[in-house]
Symmetry: C2
């Protein structure tokens, strides 16, 4: 018996009736939601090593669309193929396998329109930005908690509760552990540290990973899944597996997770400091993910010193670590220019009280860096490092947030979501303006750490003409207030490059740091 279910229903894997090779489930119609996960569970062989011996995929055809998704062995004689329907309507599928029992099974899926809150997967939009598949803009406000999934259920529950009330819509998380673990640790492979059988995966580990990713999805949070990291410190050896083990692991993870609409792929954290991996290894891993992921989820890689060549065709967006770049919009905007892809400043250092400089930002500085990235037409990521008495800290383990930046990042997110759907692009980029938006239609001007008491109304000439009228909101990015300036400013060409208020008026400002202006046509 073939059975198709959405992720949120119980997964019935009672396919024992399908003992005959090529047995058909034709006309068995099951329902799924667009961009949900439909799962086909099949019973098959348990002899040999099914993880490596059995190849399984299914071809899904709906209307003009065809999707060929790889399946995977989930232990105990159960094989699964997960399908994320890109369009609603009736879909048909047929399996293909080198195992007769799993080959040639077919069936139907009735795909309904997405439920409320399901906007589909996020993709690149308008070169530098992101949008969900249904067209809803995605204004990335990221955070990182590398090892949250490896903690106790209680701590994971606290993390999820924290996220529910936090502004973040993307979370960077590692598959492999990197420090504190649940005191009943579960590992991705059968075996023991440094004696793994990398040809045999541990389904319990991956089910837990899937549960966490599903929980993030249900909170509207994208999961940026970090496939490799160099922080193993000799504990487990996951950073130094043979090439074949790396590739098998990557294909297995992709087969299990790619149907989740909120999955993004990060090939590695700090790819350039792995002792046993070269840049070419990561080129190859990128290409394996690209090949194996039939949904084309977003793909990036994170560096320490040596930036990856994000012009390579398999990179969908840049994932950047840098302190200095994030201090200045004019610095980080270069990255957009050179790569012509969206840029996420995923690591701009962390809010915290660490004794090392990578985690001792004030809340104010963290918020400042988000705004600098924003007026560069880019996106920024947060994390924090404040240890509690149990050595839990957000960056490593999740739990509670102690920093003071998150409410201000919620304020920024609201500003972005109230802004143009397209996203913000730098205006008059040849000159240092800290001004982004859409010329003539919407401007966000950020004064950074300067504390001006007024701003003489003036905008770069692009798309402007004499007589246009504008209003100004004064945003206090730290105190989270928006004050409408009472003026309506009528512009007139002034010099070769600008339009100023025709009466030379200025907008009064509070003389505090962190002030931004939102300027819109009246």
């Amino acid at each position: 018996m073939s059975h198709v279910v959405t992720r949120r229903t119980v997964c019935v894997s009672a396919l024992t009736a399908l003992a005959a090779p090529g047995a058909s489930a034709r006309n068995r119609m099951v329902t799924a939601e667009q961009w949900g996960v439909a799962e086909i569970a099949l019973s098959g062989q348990t002899d040999g090593n099914p993880f490596v011996d059995v190849a399984l995929s299914a071809r899904f055809v709906g209307g003009d669309c065809t999707v060929v998704a790889n399946g995977f062995y989930d232990g105990d004689g159960t094989y699964r193929i997960r399908f994320c329907p890109p369009v609603p309507g009736e879909w048909r599928y047929t399996t293909r396998s080198n195992s007769d029992r799993l080959d040639g099974i077919d069936g139907k899926i009735a795909v309904s329109p997405p439920a409320a809150g399901n906007h589909g997967p996020v993709g690149v939009a308008d070169t530098y930005h992101f949008a969900y598949a249904d067209g809803t803009p995605f204004k990335q406000i990221g955070t990182t908690s590398y090892g949250w999934m490896h903690q106790t259920d209680a701590l994971c529950a606290l993390t999820l509760q924290t996220l529910k009330n936090a502004p973040f819509n993307k979370l960077r998380m590692a598959v492999f552990p990197n420090g504190t673990l649940d005191n009943r640790p579960v590992y991705p492979f059968v075996g023991t540290p440094h004696a793994w059988d990398t040809t045999r995966f541990n389904p319990v580990f991956f089910r837990r990973l899937e549960t966490r990713i599903g929980q993030l999805r249900d909170l509207g949070i994208e999961a940026d899944v970090i496939l490799f990291h160099p922080y193993d410190e000799g504990k487990w050896g996951f950073d130094a597996m043979p090439r074949e083990a790396d590739e098998r692991y990557v294909r297995y993870v992709v087969a299990r997770l790619s149907a989740y609409r909120n999955v993004w792929w990060s090939m590695a954290n700090e790819y350039d400091v792995f002792p046993h991996k070269t840049e070419e290894d990561f080129d190859r891993i990128f290409q394996i993910v690209q090949d194996a992921d039939c949904y084309g989820r977003l793909r990036s890689i994170h560096h320490l010193h040596k930036m990856y060549d994000n012009n390579k065709p398999w990179v969908t967006h840049a994932s950047i670590q840098s302190a200095t770049l994030a201090e200045d919009a004019e610095r980080c905007v270069v990255l957009r220019d050179v790569w012509r892809k969206p840029v996420i400043l995923d690591e701009v250092q962390y809010e915290g009280n660490h004794d090392q400089r990578w985690a001792q930002l004030s809340g104010e500085e963290m918020v400042h860096r988000f705004w600098e990235g924003t007026v560069a037409g880019e996106y920024v990521g947060h994390s924090e490092f404040f240890e509690d008495d149990k050595h839990h800290m957000w960056l490593g383990t999740g739990g509670a947030l102690r920093g003071i930046s998150p409410p201000r990042l919620a304020f920024l997110r609201k500003v972005l979501e109230d802004g143009p759907a397209h996203g913000l692009d730098p205006i008059d980029q040849a000159h240092d303006r800290r001004l982004a938006g859409i010329a003539g239609a919407y401007y966000l001007l950020y004064f950074g750490k300067a504390c001006p008491r007024e701003w003489a109304f003036s905008l770069p000439k692009e798309k402007l003409r004499d007589g246009m009228r504008f209003t100004v909101d004064v945003l206090d990015t730290w105190n989270m207030t928006i004050a409408s300036d009472p003026g309506v400013y009528t512009i007139k060409k002034q010099g070769q490059y600008d339009f100023a208020d025709e009466r030379g008026r200025a907008v009064a400002l509070p003389g505090r740091p962190g002030i931004a202006l939102r300027i819109k046509p009246f």
Copy 2:
């Protein structure tokens, strides 16, 4: 009679005796200088259109080296093949042609070591820097004079006189005219504006170009030859030729010029604003140059708004136009990081009195931008726009320099040439230091527009240990003075990232802008 000559001797093209196909000039030994130009002149057919009908090349073999150089038709029945010997010793050559009269001619060249001042061609060194072929570092201090070669002999002579006394060791120049011309203009093709026969080149034009390049070489100046530019303004149509004409032109220029050791290739100025050319066109032009130039001279391209992907394999270094990047070392250093190639900020705006912002820098600002680029581990280019009463200005026509930056750029060049041969790399690049050099061995610290009265001695920890001793020179980059600070500073670890003077001493500074420190081990 085959005849081989160096460029500086008279070129004897009396090869009429070689009427028989495959005629041999074996055992005819002529001398040339390493990295000079040896030229083989041959008589051949004049019927048909020799520019397109005749293919000619020669294989040069010397020791373990083989060079296959393309020849070209120089009019009046004369064909030439130019050879730049990469190593001294005896070389042998054999020609190859689809024209029997030019095919199978062989001979010898005795190549002597280079004369004084001939360091060979410039290439990329240590990823981010340049060196001559003999290992001498090349510290690029560039300038631009787009149309200088198209001016009268008198004005060209003035330009050369100016260059003789100027600090520049590279000059960007266009092949095609872009404005003021000699009042007896000579064009690269036979025909008249918009009615060129692009299949027939005008050797007189190219001989003039070669003369100018040779004159620059004799002054020790690299010629960055701009193959295309978009400033034609409909006058001649050189920016909008058919693809075949572009390619024929590029191959002809490369065949004529690549043997000149001081030639660099710039595919275009502002490649992104040609009305009839795409980025792919320039990809192709790059590849044609790469294919046709047997010497592998440096290759770059210059942009206005849209940076070219300088990670493409045919790009040897980045040639950048930007005002904002050059204002801040931490901005422009990103370009090194993303491309891992040398970066030349060829256009940082110009010193001048133009009414548009691209040519109204003060001399002080021009010098400042050179220093910002320098402490970013990059190189910078100058030009100026001050029109005289004959509408001559350096940027367009050459002539005299009126700006006040050049003596300060000579000062910078001297500092660089006195510095480490390797070149300057940013130190502790993760944090905003404006500090470049070689950790532990040489530091150049630039204070920019700040006017500090003292600097507490402190260096980033890389390669340092307690007890090391340093001395400091205080450089005034505008007044061109170097004052040795009397102190010897003994360092001691201070905090996690720095070493400071063990007694907490500071270096006294003059409180003016444009101060730099040169710090070396005692």
